[in-house]
């Protein structure tokens, strides 16, 4: 069992949890992920590691409540424990030798972009962070990003923070102004990573995206997480989750993401019915 030592509500649907997992904390690197299970009938869900503290022996996860598992997880409190917590899985991001990087987060993806920015900053790279959200209420990690970046640009789809637009608008402007990046990291919804990759391709800037497909074991055994990269099948769990954004088949990934859309709803509805005492069986 893995104890939750800190819980913080970042916005109405996004929660941060710092979890006691000393063995994982000892090894975790940016870009890697964990898989967790909340109870005996629970599914295994992958979550990218948002931060880690080797001395305290904790790993931080940040998740959005979208389905049954994250709903149950979100209802756990400090002192409660998560049943299974395994990692660190996946290949760490290669960030060494980068001089100037743009680190881009979309929505919840900002939580995963943050450790990358932090690591780049600690390696001495100049970091421009760009994060986009639907509206002002959903903004997360702004202060944290500021602490590890040279410049931070926050955009909202509706302009409610006074800076309307998409992350690609900011990146485009920065590139047009003559900023030269040797690496762009884009983490967020597939459609956003695709848009960033399309833009950086025109400028021929190396771009890393972090894929978060459906997964079971996370060790290469099931092949459910396969992604087409450069025309070849790759397993996000053992070959990724970082891939070259210019090589990823995003359209296919978007289709695959929808595979269990119906079942996810059924599962969540059944869960809510049980909570309300309605027998749905």
């Amino acid at each position: 069992m893995f104890r939750i030592v800190r819980k913080q509500i970042l916005n109405p649907s996004v929660t941060l949890m710092e979890v006691e997992a000393p063995l994982i904390a000892r090894k975790a690197e940016p870009g890697q992920f964990i898989i967790l299970r909340v109870n005996d009938e629970g599914e295994r869900i992958p979550l990218t590691i948002a931060d880690y503290d080797r001395e305290k022996g904790t790993v931080t996860i940040i998740f959005q409540i979208v389905g049954k598992t994250t709903e149950i997880l979100g209802n756990l409190e400090e002192g409660d424990a998560i049943l299974d917590f395994v990692g660190p899985l996946g290949v760490p991001s290669h960030l060494e030798g980068v001089k100037k990087a743009a680190v881009i987060g979309g929505g919840l993806g900002t939580a995963i972009a943050f450790p990358q920015a932090k690591k780049l900053h600690s390696l001495g790279a100049e970091v421009d962070a760009i994060a986009g959200f639907r509206n002002k209420e959903l903004i997360i990690l702004e202060e944290e990003l500021k602490s590890v970046s040279n410049r931070v640009f926050i955009t909202t789809d509706d302009g409610s923070n006074g800076n309307k637009g998409f992350v690609t608008d900011v990146l485009k402007k920065l590139l047009e102004e003559g900023n030269k990046y040797d690496l762009v990291i884009a983490i967020g919804p597939l459609v956003m990573m695709k848009a960033v990759s399309n833009l950086t391709k025109q400028y021929n800037i190396k771009t890393i995206v972090s894929m978060n497909p459906i997964m079971i074991d996370g060790t290469g055994m099931c092949g459910g997480c396969r992604v087409t990269v450069g025309g070849k099948i790759k397993f996000a769990c053992v070959d990724g989750p970082d891939f070259d954004g210019h090589e990823v088949d995003f359209d296919e990934a978007m289709r695959r993401q929808l595979m269990y859309r119906k079942e996810e709803q059924v599962s969540l509805d059944a869960h809510k019915c049980r909570l309300r005492g309605v027998d749905n069986a």
Binding site: L23, I24, K27, R37, E41, G42, E43, R44, K68, T69, L83, D84, F85, V86, G87, P88, L89, I216, D217, G218, T219, G220, M221, C222, G223, G224, R226, T228, I233, F235, V238, E252, R255, R256, L258, M259, Y260, E263, E264, V266, S267, A270, H271, A281
Partner: protein
């Protein structure tokens, strides 16, 4: 006087049309009377050919004699002198190519039902006997075993009996490996696997779940933690795909994923359990091994109307056990033999809607000694399917080999280990089971586990 019936006492089974709708065990097991009757068919040959055929050398005539005499507990103990997982072996071992193949009774009529008797003894013991308290003299030496499948469990059990402190590191949340995630409930009840694992724990073996070795610990770090030897029994690894168009369409599964969702994650109970599986109306399973049969029979049980086995050779070349092929046919699985998929066809929004295949014919023998299938010209045809399950084998998992300098692998990625001692190129590291051989059987993995335990014992003793 031995029972001279040319046929085995029939195994009671669930009716095919009932069982293809449930996940309960197909074969129901012998009663005491049936077991005694079948045991009396054994001639108690002096030269014991059957024992030679067993990868773990179960003293077959001895245990069968005890069954015939009604001394079931002793029969079980006789088996477990050399085999720590009899309830499992009695069910999933390919006896027809091992012990029973060499049985003298098989020359005229059917061999003695050795597997059925083994299963009986184990089931009887689990239902009736109280596990004995084991007194083991501790050596105070630590050994790490990576993986809790048949190879790992066997090795750990044997080492524990010798007095070693054994820790098994398992990547999943539940121990058992392929016995839990791969082989379906209707062929190997999970409750029974759990009991076998509990027996090993009872010997003092510690099982640490959620531990992906190669990630959370490297092998060198395990040595630093005080383990004197390591046995790698991490299993087969990454599922292979065909490399044809359409394999990433929604509705295409590896057999590993399909079976893991059902067996380990209990998708057949969805939405009571949280993990779903998509079965569809018409399912094509590509491959001809036991895993393909398991996937096909599981799909049928989950409500698929038509389930096809698509295999590019003929039935004769199928690697699956005869019994599994027979059971699959009884349950209504349709075999499309000498058929090979060329591409999977999708709908506009990316879901499987069909599979284009070609007919094959058998040509000259290939490297495997089997006749090589070659496509027949102009035989392309499309089968309407909405789910495709690829069951054509696996490639080795790189998690350990890629993080262990000095651990040599074969070209295809399997770990190189001495055939007898299972020693690898890295001192103190032994490897066995599918991680070395590629996908094989439960009993071969157990045989490797036994060899490894012996070799590790010798290695540690020679070191000190």
């Amino acid at each position: 006087m031995p029972n001279m019936s040319p046929k085995k006492v029939p195994m009671p089974e669930q009716d095919p049309n009932v069982r293809n709708k449930n996940f309960l065990e197909v074969a129901l097991g012998y009663t005491e009377e049936m077991a005694k009757e079948e045991a009396q068919r054994c001639l108690q040959c002096k030269h014991r050919p059957c024992v030679e055929g067993c990868p773990v050398n179960v003293q077959i005539p001895d245990f069968i004699k005890l069954v015939a005499e009604g001394r079931f507990e002793e029969a079980y103990e006789k088996i477990t002198e050399t085999n720590s997982l009899p309830a499992i072996c009695g069910r999933v071992c390919p006896q027809e190519t091992q012990c029973e193949k060499l049985c003298v009774r098989g020359k005229k009529g059917e061999p003695v039902g050795i597997g059925r008797l083994e299963r009986f003894a184990a089931d009887w013991y689990m239902a009736n006997a109280k596990p004995k308290e084991v007194k083991i003299e501790k050596l105070n030496k630590k050994v790490a075993v990576i993986g809790s499948g048949p190879a790992g469990i066997t090795c750990a059990g044997d080492l524990a009996k010798m007095g070693y402190d054994v820790t098994i590191f398992e990547a999943f949340h539940t121990p058992g490996g392929v016995l839990m995630y791969g082989i379906p409930e209707f062929r190997l009840p999970k409750e029974l696997v759990q009991k076998e694992i509990d027996l090993v724990k009872n010997l003092g073996v510690e099982i640490k779940t959620n531990m992906v070795i190669g990630k959370v610990f490297t092998l060198d770090e395990l040595f630093n933690e005080g383990y004197e030897a390591i046995f790698i029994a991490s299993g087969a690894g990454l599922p292979s795909f065909l490399g044809i168009e359409g394999e990433n369409l929604n509705g295409v599964y590896s057999a590993n994923e399909f079976l893991t969702r059902i067996n380990l994650m209990k998708a057949y109970k969805f939405p009571y359990s949280d993990t779903p599986v998509k079965v569809g109306k018409t399912v094509a399973v590509v491959g001809g091994g036991n895993v393909a049969m398991d996937a096909a029979r599981s799909a049928k049980r989950l409500g698929a109307k038509n389930v096809y086995i698509i295999y590019r050779r003929s039935e004769e070349e199928m690697p699956a056990r005869l019994e599994e092929i027979h059971h699959a046919k009884e349950e209504g699985i349709i075999f499309k033999l000498l058929t090979n998929p060329v591409r999977i066809i999708g709908t506009e929004d990316g879901w499987v809607k069909g599979m284009e295949c070609v007919e094959m014919e058998l040509g000259e023998p290939d490297a495997s000694g089997r006749r090589k299938p070659v496509p027949k010209p102009n035989s392309e045809h499309v089968i309407d399917v909405d789910t495709v399950i690829i069951a054509i084998g696996q490639t080795p998992n790189p998690l350990i080999t890629s993080t262990t300098p000095g651990l040599d692998t074969k070209k295809w990625g399997g770990i190189i280990a001495d055939e007898e001692t299972l020693e690898t190129s890295k001192p103190g590291v032994f490897a066995g089971g599918d991680a070395v051989t590629g996908a094989a059987t439960v009993i071969l993995a157990m045989g490797a586990g036994k060899k490894a335990a012996k070799a590790i014992d010798q290695y540690i003793k020679s070191k000190n």
